[in-house]
Amino acid sequence: MNNETENDLDKVNNELSKAQADEQSDQYLTFFMAGEEYGVDILAVREIRGWEPITAIPNSPSQVLGFTNLRGTVAPIVDLRHYFGVETTSYGNASVVIIISVQTDKGEKIMGIVVDAVSDVYNFSKSNVQPSPELSQTKQAQYVKGLGSTEDKMVILLELTEQLIADSDIAADRHLLVG
């Protein structure tokens, strides 16, 4: 990885810790995936890393790419493109991994999501977030918290659940629904 991206990551990580210190606001970290902007609750974000080689998990659903070594912890990496039917790309130095923690019944689980690029940190008040109507009937709905709008753009806000690493193959499910 070149120095520039590393500096960028540092900057974002700094901003991240600043934002986390201020817990009052509803802040979202946004990122790009296939040209679309998505957001996750910033309090769930642990850190942002560059792409590192991963170890495939035998017979895993297609959205779970494999395990990575997170300073001694073994964490799965998922590709959200599979949830939204976006064409998968190859992963490389340009890819970014956002490490998030997801609350489950058995405590928190750490996992990473692969994205194209990290964008910004936005404040969304409750009134700025609308449920997305077209998705409400489909299976993807459970991964979408709503749509957040700012003055000039719209961000898809994601719901982080344990379902991200569920057993079933999301891509297959989606085709079933579409078909």
């Binding site: 998990i57 017979n59 494999g66 073994v74 964490a75 799965p76």
Partner: protein, 710 residues
């Protein structure tokens, strides 16, 4: 007094369990013909701490019951009561009873007092009997026990003579604090008795040479007064007399009725807190205690038997702190070096890195050592078990424990307990003969069971050795044939026959009675041990006894692994499960209808599992001929796994994949290799299931080929 005591409950429970263990082992060590004072003292001290603790935390039932036990122990200690063999049993029963009570408090369920009541009655009978023989103390006793009732009806106060032992300040008890507490009960006057203070040159500044005459006015009950002195009463001279009866009996009291009188009356008082505010306070306390314990119980329900904390010697912790210090120094040195790095500094960097790796390894070793406990923790339950069982079975047994200081990982220890109990029970029940039979066979009447533990390589070996009848091979074999576990034409070696007892399906109820009996859940024992990456074997000589040998890894956190690769992935086989690795020839491989290939190896037929196939990955070599076969064993089934290549062997640190993901079939965990990548550790029984090699199929293959060969 607004300190929330419930935060200390867990510590109290743990300490009490430890105390009970001490009592139990001391009781079992007692030689009735020559009672050792130190042993009795040990039991007494343990009982005393439990009583004190339970009183403080408001577990009245435990305090009351333990108190009775303690009273009798105190009599024995002061040679006023002769201990007999059946008393030991009574004490053992009460140890159990206290353990149950503590357990119930821990779980937050209400205390079952039935057993406690019975035992208490038995103790009271003993105590009364004792009191009758010494009429003087009995008199004092009755006089005293009458007093608490008086005190309720309005004693004006108490005259207290308190002379603590010299060490009182060193044990953390402060008389001033006690007096302050007393002064809360009423108007208090304190007169110090300074007679015993030595001349200044002889004085030990930390000792307490003082005694006090205290006068407490007001409506305090004797119970309340006693409570103040609860922690020191046994090490001090303490005489409490009601103010109205106060006379010169002090001296007489001291001589004739030492602690007996005082202690018993205290006991009476706690049993009858019928009237007044006392009851209310007690009730409140109990209710509070219950509330907190229930709260805890909800949270702790799942982990109730495995204690969550661990006691570590301070020296181990000091070592760790030192090492972390070193690590920090090395780290700062390296970062300093990295700030302005030039190539001249390269040797320095290398040196620093070497230091870093040394510190890291040391730190790892030491952290591992924290989890290591001597195996005596697991062995400690056996004296009692053997004592009780031999009584039930009318057998005479001597239990020998060897290598108790052998250290073992705590998690392994917790999970080896049950299999060990099972094996010892089996040896006792089915291995050892009855005394008459032993005599007839020319053996010593007393059977012998030895538990032996020692280290061997990176493993710990635990042996259960008995000098009983041994395994009856003929019966085992005929039984196995009957059950279809071996075919009639099979010729098995002695070891193979002995090994049959570990097969599932062998341990039928019938087998227990018909055969020499072993085999009750032996498959469960083996499975439990295999789950710990260990193994169990039996050697036996008919008529001379058997030896069960358990081999366990020292820790669950580290595993000896064989690295293999398939395509681009590196996987790890636990070294213990590998039988051998071979390169194959065409003629060794047979294709059985249904697509399953088998390997013929020394007249055994082993199903071939292609790892790339079951894991859906792309290999370098798809066919069996090009790759290597690693023969592994799990659940008593052998499979030959096709891999691309064997890499090195190394110790790997096991990481959970369940923590952040979920279980994966065929994979038991993961580890991080030297280059920082994650590698998966293969689970043999999981692979067998994944590949669809069932026990039946496995047997069918081998049976079919047997007939073919015949």
């Amino acid at each position: 007094m607004s300190v929330d005591l419930s935060q200390f409950h867990q510590v109290f429970f743990e300490e009490s369990y430890e105390g009970l263990d001490v009592m139990e082992s001391a009781l079992l060590n007692i030689d009735i013909s020559a009672i050792d004072d130190e042993t009795i003292n040990e039991i007494f001290r343990a009982a005393h701490s439990i009583k004190g603790g339970s009183g403080t935390f408001g577990f009245k039932e435990i305090a009351e019951f333990t108190h009775v036990v303690e009273t009798l122990l105190d009599l024995i200690r002061s040679d006023q009561f002769e201990m007999k063999a059946d008393h030991v049993d009574l004490f053992l029963k009460s140890v159990d009873c206290i353990r149950t009570m503590i357990n119930q408090f821990e779980k937050g369920v209400s205390c079952d007092m039935e057993v406690a009541g019975e035992l208490k009655a038995a103790f009271t009978v003993l105590l009364d009997g004792e009191n009758e023989t010494s009429s003087e103390s009995n008199e004092a006793d009755s006089k005293k026990s009458a007093q608490p009732n008086d005190s309720h009806s309005g004693a004006e106060g108490w005259q207290i003579y308190f002379k603590p032992e010299l060490d009182i300040l060193r044990t953390g008890n402060d008389p001033v604090r006690m007096f302050r507490e007393l002064s809360e009960l009423g108007e208090l006057s304190v007169i110090a008795v300074t007679d015993d203070i030595p001349s200044i040159s002889d004085i030990d500044p930390e000792a307490c040479y003082m005694a006090w005459n205290l006068t407490l006015f007001g409506g305090a009950t004797e119970e309340q007064v006693n409570e103040v002195f609860e922690w020191v009463v046994d090490d001090s001279e303490l005489v409490i007399t009601p103010l109205m009866l106060q006379s010169d009996t002090r001296e007489e009291d001291l001589e004739t009725s030492p602690n007996v009188g005082v202690v018993v009356s205290e006991h009476e008082a706690t049993i009858i807190p019928e009237t007044g505010e006392n009851e209310e306070i007690a009730g409140k306390e109990v209710a509070e205690a219950k509330q907190t314990t229930t709260k805890k119980a909800v949270a702790k329900k799942e982990v109730k038997t495995e204690s969550a904390s661990i006691r570590v010697g301070t020296d181990k912790i000091d070592d760790l702190i030192n090492m972390v210090g070193e690590l920090v120094i090395t780290q700062s040195m390296l970062s300093e070096l990295g700030k302005e790095f030039s190539i001249e500094n390269l040797p320095k960097l290398m040196e620093g890195l070497a230091q870093l790796s040394m510190h890291t390894r040391e730190l790892q070793e030491n952290v591992m050592r924290i989890r290591m406990l001597p195996i005596s923790f697991a062995f400690s339950r056996f004296p009692r078990l053997v004592h009780d069982m031999s009584k039930n079975l009318n057998k005479k047994v001597e239990l020998v424990l060897l290598g108790e200081q052998t250290e073992l990982d705590k998690t392994v220890m917790e999970r080896i307990g049950d299999p060990l109990v099972h094996l010892v029970r089996n040896s006792l029940d089915h291995g050892l003969e009855l005394p008459e039979k032993r005599l007839a066979l020319g053996k010593d009447e007393m059977g012998k069971i030895t538990l032996n533990a020692f280290h061997q390589g990176g493993n710990i070996i635990i042996q259960i050795i008995d000098d009983g009848a041994g395994l009856n091979k003929e019966k085992i074999l005929s039984k196995a044939k009957e059950n279809g576990l071996v075919s009639a034409s099979d010729h098995l070696s002695d070891d193979q026959i002995n090994d049959l007892i570990f097969l599932p399906g062998f341990s039928t109820a019938e087998a227990v009675t018909d055969i020499s009996g072993r085999g009750v859940g032996m498959d469960v024992v083996r499975r439990n041990i295999q789950e710990l990456n260990g193994s169990v074997e039996v050697e036996s000589k008919e008529g001379e006894g058997s030896v069960f040998t358990i081999r366990l890894p020292l820790t669950l956190a580290i595993l000896d692994g064989q690295l293999i690769n398939v395509g681009e992935q590196v996987y790890i086989f636990p070294l213990v499960s590998i039988v051998e690795s071979i390169q194959t020839h065409d003629q060794m491989i047979h294709r059985v209808s249904g697509g399953c290939d088998v390997l013929r190896l020394r007249n055994e037929y082993i199903p071939i599992v292609k790892l790339w196939d079951v894991f859906n990955i792309k290999p370098k070599h798809e066919t069996v001929e090009d790759g290597l076969l690693v023969i592994v064993e799990g659940d008593n089934i052998k499979i030959a796994v096709l891999v691309d290549d064997l890499l090195g062997q190394q110790q790997v640190v096991i990481k959970s994949i369940r923590e952040n993901y979920r279980p994966v079939h065929g994979v038991s965990g993961a580890t991080i290799l030297g280059d920082g990548t994650v590698s998966l550790i293969l689970d043999i029984s999981g692979l067998i299931k994944l590949a669809g090699v069932g026990r039946d199929a496995y047997k069918k293959i081998n049976d079919a080929n047997d007939t073919e060969a015949a």
